[in-house]
């Protein structure tokens, strides 16, 4: 999990944005990506297609695609390439392929 450089509270607060990650409010500095919000909360981004194991952001520069999440109902968004905006609804993406089940969403 990541935390703010300013946890000592000594600095004046910068502009911030509040978004929802898996239904919980989360506040990050403005300009930070959705992936930063995930890392701050220690959230999972996606479950993999083959084994359903949990993944979280790895590279933070758009290369690995392990940060795929659902943002405002749109799946397969790369969290590290999307700047967080107020009110965004970010959800873990269940990409696990299962036989005989409807897709998760």
């Amino acid at each position: 999990m990541f935390r703010s450089l300013r946890d000592d509270g000594a600095e004046a607060p910068r502009p911030e944005v509040t978004l929802a990650v898996d239904g919980e409010p989360c506040t990050v500095p403005s300009g930070a990506t959705v992936a930063a919000a995930l890392l701050q909360r220690g959230s999972i981004a996606r479950l993999t297609a083959r084994s359903g194991s949990a993944r979280a952001p790895y590279c933070m520069m758009g290369i690995c695609f392990d940060c795929l999440v659902e943002i405002d109902g749109v799946p397969n968004r790369q969290a590290c390439m999307v700047v967080a905006e107020p009110g965004m609804d970010v959800r873990c993406q269940d990409g696990h392929r299962r036989v005989g089940l409807e897709p998760a969403r």
Partner: protein
């Protein structure tokens, strides 16, 4: 559909792309610069404008080389290039078919670089003459931004897509809580956030040292820095030390980082082997052997690094001639001293053509910009060569440290070719080293066939994370060279695009 036309389209606004844009604009070329990120600077100067203007108190964390990026970004902003941030290029199309190139009477030697830098040959006008004849044709670029898909055309394309961190396929590297050292730097630069303790840095390369010191400045003391440089590397590197001493500043900077780390009292381990990351739902610990003993260090965040490799997908999708660099352990495009490739009108500059570092990329970008201006008859040969002289000299000086660094920080084979069969090689499709090795033993001849049999490289990252590992795994298993084995054939689109986005291209722009 209306297509915007430019003299030059640059992909990537890092050091190489910005320097090329400055040079192109100085020669009045209509230039468009496309970059994935919201602001210029590339990864090395990521978010430099905002850090400088909105949180200058943090600049000391990153050091002066980062701060230097600000004035450069300012000049880039003012140069008159059409900068389009948030633009992800997924296809470049060249009007001249590759087949026509093959018939060209060019001496092939003009392009081929046996090893190391592009600078051992002089200005090779021969190679570029051909380009000069052909620049009438357009190159087409397709990209997506927040508003949808777009199409631009340009007489020249410069690929300046930089580098990314070499994937580190070790047991446990897919666990949440495991990131790259570069990812932690991005968090510092863009979100002013630091990893939760205990944090352990594992790997080799200048970035490990730099990040460790940056974290210390930010008030985070890593639980350990675990080095993976095998002791044999020091000897191999020492043979290349002499030219490295001539390179400006690299060694003294490295030594001062090592000194700062030593004084900090952070636990350090050397020549670690049998590295694995333990944990069930998240990373919990790093285990390894060092100094003849087993170690296990508790960690909430594990930051990996084994150097950087060219971000090659875009130029690979163009089918350029390329070669395996045995010292850098990666594929590089065959380019002449200006960055011209085997495809007319397409140039590659900076780290995407081979790892030379940010400062070298600045001069490489400048040389590409000069060559393009010359090919489009904005400057004559005398002016081009006069202007190129200084850049060439500087570039040569920066490259002279590479043979030393490449050998010192060459990842040990265990980090490139996982010994443990259960280690995941392809993160997207969860293909293990064992599966790839097994298929290689049954005679699967190369990465493309491996793709068909195992699905490795078929996920959304399109082989960026597993490509080099698959090549080296096949090579090691079949006792062949990576050069013989080859790499994934990359096809456009190099990034996932939706059918809807492609369909949108047909609509008149602005609707």
């Amino acid at each position: 559909m209306t297509v915007e036309r430019f003299d030059l389209a640059i992909v990537g606004a890092g050091p190489a792309g910005m320097a090329a844009a400055l040079e192109a604009r100085r020669n009045r070329l209509r230039t468009v610069v496309l970059d994935e990120q919201p602001t210029p600077g590339g990864q090395v100067w990521r978010n430099i404008e905002s850090v400088t203007t909105r949180r200058p108190q943090d600049l000391f964390v990153f050091g002066s080389e980062y701060a230097d990026g600000f004035s450069f970004a300012q000049r880039f902003r003012a140069c008159g290039a059409d900068f389009r941030p948030g633009a992800r290029v997924w296809q470049v199309e060249v009007a001249t078919p590759v087949a026509a190139q093959a018939r060209d009477p060019d001496p092939p030697g003009a392009f081929v670089l046996p090893s190391g830098s592009a600078l051992d040959t002089g200005p090779d006008d021969e190679a570029v003459h051909v380009e000069r004849r052909r620049t009438g044709a357009d190159r087409h670029l397709f990209y997506t931004d927040a508003r949808g898909a777009h199409h631009v055309a340009a007489r020249h394309v410069l690929v300046a897509t930089g580098a990314y961190e070499r994937p580190v396929p070790v047991p446990g590297w897919t666990l949440p809580g495991v990131l790259t050292c570069g990812a932690a730097q991005v968090m510092l630069k863009t979100a002013a956030m630091v990893p939760g303790s205990p944090v352990v840095l594992v790997g080799s390369g200048p970035l490990v040292l730099l990040l460790a010191v940056q974290l210390l400045r930010a008030g985070v003391k890593p639980a350990a820095v675990v080095g993976t440089v095998p002791s044999g590397n020091y000897l191999r590197a020492a043979a290349r030390l002499w030219p490295a001493l001539l390179a400006p500043g690299y060694l003294s900077k490295g030594l001062s980082l090592i000194g700062a780390l030593r004084r900090s009292g952070v636990a350090r381990f050397a020549a670690a082997t049998e590295l694995r990351i333990e944990g069930t739902a998240r990373a919990e610990a790093v285990a390894f052997r060092s100094g003849g003993r087993e170690h296990r260090i508790a960690a909430q965040t594990v930051l990996l690094h084994q150097g950087v490799v060219p971000n090659a997908n875009l130029w690979q999708s163009l089918g350029l001639e390329h070669y395996w660099d045995a010292a850098q352990r990666c594929f590089r495009p065959a380019v002449d001293t200006w960055g011209n490739t085997t495809l007319a009108g397409v140039l590659v500059a900076g780290d995407s053509a081979g790892i030379g570092g940010a400062e070298a990329a600045l001069f490489a970008g400048e040389l590409s910009g000069l060559s393009i201006a010359w090919q489009q008859r904005r400057i004559d040969t005398a002016e081009r060569d006069r202007r190129a002289w200084l850049a060439r000299r500087a570039l040569k000086a920066h490259w002279s440290v590479r043979p030393f660094l490449d050998r010192l920080y060459q990842p040990p084979s265990a980090m490139r070719v996982p010994a443990d069969d259960d280690t995941i090689v392809c993160r997207c499709e969860e293909v293990t080293a064992g599966e790839v090795r097994q298929l290689a033993l049954t005679g699967v001849p190369g990465p493309n066939q491996m793709k068909a049999f195992s699905r490795c490289g078929m996920g959304p990252c399109q082989g960026r994370m597993c490509g080099l590992t698959v090549t080296e795994l096949i090579a090691a298993t079949q006792h062949r060279t990576p050069s013989e084995v080859g790499c994934f054939r990359v096809r456009a689109p190099v990034l996932p695009v939706t059918v809807g986005e492609v369909a949108d291209l047909e609509r008149p722009s602005g609707s």
